[in-house]
């Protein structure tokens, strides 16, 4: 009788044990999105992640487990950003963090991400300092990866290519002015850009960093005008580029503008400032063009579901989740210690190109990898790729009030 009882108990225990195991196996993989959701870049991060999650779950999930999203608003304030990371890691126990936008916020979060030993895939911040920590102290900061965008210094290299190749090479402008918001990523970018373009034979007549809260740009534009520059390179993300571009247009400013302008990447930028961004040329990671076989399916699915085109964080977040899912499948676990070596081996063709990380876990640009397109606003809000040459699908125009207006060059 005692033997019967004990075998019953053992069977019951085994049943409970296997049930627990089954529950554990079915526990979803939690994706933590830390993003400034008051901004379009933040909302697009969350929406693109949800799109990817639904697609992956529709195909059975990862390792047989469903994916689940947890969102925290990191705002543009470092303190709130740190609180978001703590909440996602300590309360929600997320398996991976995907997000970021403001480099200052990401840098403040970095020690807390490392302490939580949670993989972080950055898809919005551009400061190279973020991934420099991986090189300085791999053991502590190996959890940090940047999937998107290309870091600020490498953006400077690509911008140098645009300035020396297109602005000087094709338009024939030898003197430029550079203005940018006074922010960490711009402080990282401008010295590299200045050195690069000067090596390429372009004179930098004036380089000014201004307060991101500035709302009257007339004095700054006057200074640029007096400098004798022929082209104005802008480096803007958090600053009010809606106001800047409107004032540039209203003043019929004699210099064409182009460079990095994150708000001008928004698909509705032209329309929302009344068409005043005409002829502004800005860098973009993605456009409704078949850059890879995955670009248009993603673009169309996003537009169909959310009734708006995506901004730059969306393809970054979407691709980040897919490449994480692939790494987890290869590692056969979500244990960061096992997934990190697999992430380091990433060679994933996503919506913007092929993602490969360098030794600092930073996404590498280059031919066949990820590249910035220089895209110009043209009449009726049409966007035309004008650089790099091999991807260009239209001719560059000058501002409508320019003496050399009409077709400038090929």
């Amino acid at each position: 009788m005692l033997r019967l009882l004990s075998s019953c108990a053992a069977a019951a225990l085994a049943l409970i044990g296997s049930a627990t195991l089954a529950v554990a196996e079915e526990k979803p993989i939690v994706i933590g999105a830390d993003s400034p959701i008051q901004l379009q870049v933040g909302r697009d991060t969350v929406d693109a992640l949800q799109l990817a999650i639904d697609e992956i779950n529709g195909k059975g999930g990862v390792l047989g487990r469903k994916l689940q999203l947890a969102v925290e608003d990191e705002t543009m304030d470092p303190q709130q950003g740190v609180a978001a990371i703590k909440k996602l890691t300590a309360d929600e126990h997320v398996d991976v963090l995907i997000g970021g936008y403001n480099s200052g916020v990401t840098l403040a979060q970095e020690p807390h991400i490392a302490d939580a030993k949670t993989i972080y895939l950055g898809i919005g911040s551009a400061s190279p300092s973020i991934t420099d920590f991986v090189g300085k102290n791999y053991k502590r900061f190996k959890y940090m990866f940047r999937v998107n965008p290309i870091n600020a210094v490498r953006q400077a290299d690509q911008l140098t290519g645009f300035v020396t190749g297109k602005v000087k090479g094709d338009l024939g402008f030898n003197t430029i002015a550079i203005i940018g918001e006074n922010a960490k990523w711009v402080q990282d970018l401008t010295p590299v850009l200045k050195e690069g373009v000067e090596k390429g034979g372009v004179k930098v007549a004036v380089l000014e960093l201004f307060d991101p809260d500035m709302s009257d740009f007339s004095p700054l534009l006057a200074k640029v005008k007096e400098s004798g520059a022929q082209y104005l390179v802008v480096i803007l993300s958090h600053a009010n580029s809606d106001v800047f571009v409107k004032q540039w247009y209203d003043a019929k400013f004699p210099l064409p503008i182009g460079g990095i302008d994150v708000k001008s990447q928004d698909p509705d930028f032209f329309q929302r400032i009344g068409g005043k961004s005409i002829s502004e040329t800005v860098s973009l990671g993605i456009l409704a063009e078949p850059l890879t076989p995955k670009t248009m399916p993603f673009w169309n699915a996003f537009v169909e579901r959310y009734k708006r085109p995506p901004v730059y964080t969306a393809p970054g977040a979407y691709d980040a989740l897919y490449l994480y899912a692939e790494a987890v499948e290869r590692a056969k676990t979500t244990d960061p210690e096992m997934v990190i070596p697999e992430l380091e081996k990433t060679k994933y063709q996503g919506t913007q190109g092929t993602y490969v990380f360098d030794e600092h876990h930073d996404v590498l640009p280059g031919p066949g990898l990820i590249n910035l397109l220089y895209v110009q606003w043209q009449p009726d809000g049409k966007r035309v790729i004008v650089w790099p040459k091999e991807l260009a699908n239209g001719k560059m125009i000058l501002p409508p009030w320019s003496n050399q207006h009409a077709e400038a060059t090929k």
Partner: protein, 285 residues
Amino acid sequence: MFFEILVFGAVSSAVYAMLAVGFTLIFGVARILNLSHGAFYGLGAYCAYVLTNTAHWPLLPAAIFSVLFVAAFGAAVERWLVRPLRASALAVLMITLAVALLFEQAMLLIFGSEARNVPAFVTDTWTYAGLNISGQKLLTLASGIAVLGLLYLFIQKTRFGSAILAISQDPEAAQYMGIPANRMYSVVMGLSAAIAATAGVLTAPFLTVQPTMDLLPMVKAFAIVIVGGLGSIPGSILAALLLGYTETIVAYSPWQSWSETVSLIAVLLTLILRPAGLLGKRAAF
């Protein structure tokens, strides 16, 4: 350079004057230190944005409706929030600050933190002596002068204006003469809000429309009325001209990034050297 400073300084001064006269008017008449004044400016701009972009109204009716709406909102704030607390200056300060914070949060939740675009009344650009000035800026300058002129006529030449003056000089005596003080306070608050909203609607096409857009105008208006003398309309206009031009001159100098500190330095100097302000009769603090 001189011409640019002359024109852009005048535009800044006109905007500052529109912001400051309303702020000083309600203080001079009702002794209300209204920290929601910047919110009235922002609400005007957002209202114009909603009517033109969402409801697709033509700009002029949208602008007029926005100004009237904000005027009604201002009067309502006075009637329902300020009046019950008017016995305590500190309570008035807190309730108007709460209205300003509520405005910021409501705009953030409804519209997000991105800048919004309000179309310009004038899209042409005027060129004179090599300087291109947007028509909207010139319109703002002209409207600012017109608003201040109309306000002067209203206060000096109408019975209503005389009543406002009477209350500002001696509220008790004015009440004994049969002037309904409370109703006048609501009207003046509405008027003050309408002038701020006019500034908001006029500057929205070339400045920013964002949830935090109320803070800087509020600080500027406060600085100007301290320099000009709290409660003094001519003082506010004089101080608006002084600060508008000084800021523009600094912005065109090599010390451009110091331009935003001009108003703060002016406030410090005024409080130390002449606490009553340029044309104020007595120190307000």
